[in-house]
Symmetry: C2
Subunit: 92 residues, 2 copies
């Protein structure tokens, strides 16, 4: 009984950690909702916000990783606006 309880607790901790990690690697739910309302979309399911967040995160990742390459290619260490702009152009 105690063991079972312990196991449950451990898996709960694991779940909480995983969801925290996931949350850390995407745009937060509230950010998505705030911007959606700004652009006139009043009602949205949580799953829809998650789908949108995942898509944006993918876009973000593609652009930032290309910009990072371009920055090092230019002999710099800090990403500048021109790196972002070129990365966006290259993506299209």
């Amino acid at each position: 009984m105690l063991e079972k309880l312990g196991l449950k607790r451990q898996s709960e901790v694991k779940e909480a950690y995983k969801s925290h990690k996931k949350r850390d690697e995407t745009f937060h739910f509230n950010t998505i909702l705030r911007l959606s309302k700004k652009f006139g979309a009043e009602r949205m399911s949580r799953e829809a916000a998650e789908a949108l967040s995942e898509y944006l995160t993918e876009e973000f990742k593609r652009v930032i990783q290309d910009a990072d390459k371009l920055t090092r290619h230019a002999g710099r260490k800090t990403i500048m606006p021109e790196d972002i702009e070129l990365a966006i152009q290259r993506k299209r």
Copy 2:
């Protein structure tokens, strides 16, 4: 002198309001920095983060507004994941 001071104050209030409004309609600086670090880009100028935020906001706006149209087209009021997915496909 007092008038001048008053004028300055008023314009400062205006500026603060404008920047708050702008901040409200984009992804926040800290969100961009947090995700950049997650994806391996350690250093980034503020202007670069702003350029990236603007690009993502544009993408966001395009997808959410199309999803909103698709939602109403399907006779619903709440955006569902399938609306987001179709909007992303249509954009490509």
